[in-house]
Symmetry: C3
Amino acid sequence: MPTRDASPPLQLSPIVAGLWRLTEWNLDVPARVRWIEQALELGIGSFDHADIYGDYRAEVLFGEALQAAPALRARMQLVTKCGIRLRSAERPYRVNHYDTSAAYVRAQVEQSLRNLHTEQLDLVLIHRPDYLMDAGALAQTFAALSREGKVAHWGVSNHRASQFALLHQQHPLVTHQVELSTLMMDALDDGTLDQAQQLGLRPMIWSPLGGGRLFRDDDAQAVRVRQAMQPIAARLGIGLASLAYAWILRHPSRPHPITGSGRIEGLREAVATLDVRLEAEDWYAIWVASKGHGVP
Amino acid sequence: MPTRDASPPLQLSPIVAGLWRLTEWNLDVPARVRWIEQALELGIGSFDHADIYGDYRAEVLFGEALQAAPALRARMQLVTKCGIRLRSAERPYRVNHYDTSAAYVRAQVEQSLRNLHTEQLDLVLIHRPDYLMDAGALAQTFAALSREGKVAHWGVSNHRASQFALLHQQHPLVTHQVELSTLMMDALDDGTLDQAQQLGLRPMIWSPLGGGRLFRDDDAQAVRVRQAMQPIAARLGIGLASLAYAWILRHPSRPHPITGSGRIEGLREAVATLDVRLEAEDWYAIWVASKGHGVP
Amino acid sequence: MPTRDASPPLQLSPIVAGLWRLTEWNLDVPARVRWIEQALELGIGSFDHADIYGDYRAEVLFGEALQAAPALRARMQLVTKCGIRLRSAERPYRVNHYDTSAAYVRAQVEQSLRNLHTEQLDLVLIHRPDYLMDAGALAQTFAALSREGKVAHWGVSNHRASQFALLHQQHPLVTHQVELSTLMMDALDDGTLDQAQQLGLRPMIWSPLGGGRLFRDDDAQAVRVRQAMQPIAARLGIGLASLAYAWILRHPSRPHPITGSGRIEGLREAVATLDVRLEAEDWYAIWVASKGHGVP
């Protein structure tokens, strides 16, 4: 049933750079170009966007850098997302909502192409599961945009396993972007990572540091996890952030964690962990701290 | 594995009339005949029964009308259900329970045929998931009753996705009857509607008006939903009930809502919405009101 | 994809004897031999172990009996489990954790072979779902140990349906050992027993008497269930324990309950129920008492 994917297989870099907060980094165009070059030098070649990031402005900022240094494009994979209609000054929706209609997906993909000054997006994800998604119609939209050369690969983010299966039956999806961290482990138990492994798809992981809670929050879970992680990090000679990445990278689904940092040092902490293979005992000690109880 | 279904495909009318409360309508036989004729004139050709409705009496009342006006039968689809052993004066069970044994399903189907004065039921549903269901044996019962011409198609109601899959593997089911309304949205998230879409089966929807809660209840959810729906209904120039149906009809599974009204006006409110296509923003505004929080 | 299982089909006895508490029974070797002989005489030919039972000592005690009476081995099926690293004096792990690495599974299987003085284990189960399980690698370990003649069949215990599916896709599993009792009914609703039936696999049931809670606990659920079961047991002329087994055996998945008793009388109570077929009404009366509400 699934249309065969004519594009060559997608190869994301082991660590993916997330541009969620690009608009907050206050980088001028040359600084953005320099930031991208440094990421590439670290081996981070995949850049994760969404149409709505930075109040619909993040793609534009990134695209200005690509326009200024067009040779960069060939050295990277561009990932973006669409499907959320987020309220903003220019889009005064009554409520945030989802839209996976042919017209809207096409419009947003074409907007992302313009924003990013590129001919093709390497990967486009449906950002959230749209209850009103017509899987057959959406698959046709995917196929049409791929035929036109505008999108190489498709995937989804934050879908339940049954929602993923419904769309995957109609069009092959190459990844599922889900939340996972030492503070947020639902994906271990709700079947999404089991499904990814069963289909042989490597997930992308958002919020791998728990949105910063790991470092600063005083809630009981964050304190327990930090206390469990600190001696392990010390023993391994790495920082807390690096250990958080290593904890994710240990998962057998071979996930791609997405960093959210504008500091090159933040990217370096993620890349540094690619050589670290956590012992199962350490991995579970962190799980136990996060859950607040032992394994059954 | 599934036995091929020899019967022609089942075509239910877009709106299905539910006879759950027929015994409360206090209609004599001519009034029942007139009610059926009016429903048919509105394009409602499918009638949803269950052996137990009206303390096992609703089918009998409907059947009296069919006996009085036998030409009606050919213009309609008769749907019924079995599998619940409900306590009643004549059935003094210690507890209500389920029974999907060959003997009981056959007995109830044959009882429904007699009650409804018909040779064949167009669709029979297992009313609730029976933990003691032997899927292989039940599939044989289905096949035998179909071979004998007594039942054209089979389905289930209120099953989990895994329970549906277990039986569907043994005998093809043509629909899943589930609860869905602007006040009760579990089926959106528990995988049952995803499964129906994946299998290409149009679900039937019971309690589409939330059992009347939508109109009269003062609980926080009902108040929120009513307040969200009223301006949308006013803008579209339809009533609250019509909007509740339109909200269901917007779902991509192409559901068949089941009315429960004895008033022809109630049926008209449902049918009137077949032309209304809700905007995604309106659909989600009602979702947000029902959940009490925005989309993620 | 799944490697075909070259071994003849596994036949477990209808009731399986569990050795969880063998170390507490204080039986010397001749008494252990006598206990095994009596179990076999009752038709209980399958014995359920785990590497960790009795602080890693239960298999050793059982194996001493097999060494003393080696003719017994051919009359039984030996089942064991591995994959939990449980803290003990000799294994001072920081936390209990799971390990399904090739090296650990192999080491524990070979340890069980030595403990039990046998050349082959009839069935080995992965004791708990290991989040770090590499399904492909584990399947290779299964295949290698089967090729070497060390393990005839493989299964799992306490896995979610999606976890079971992931491993079963890589290597055929012959059973799923899950908890089920008149006090603990999650497996009825979480899809694991639906999956077992869909795959045609008979589950093994642990803690069929609710760990003894059924007989002695004063919590509301235990009291309700006991009160519902007592008149049914009296009417059937069996004891409470026998009724608890009969309730499980009535399930269409054709489960194998695992006893935990060292008393031959305890085994007899289980075996006695193989002739008892509970009426659906009795089965549901116990369900209702356990849930504290009627069926929907």
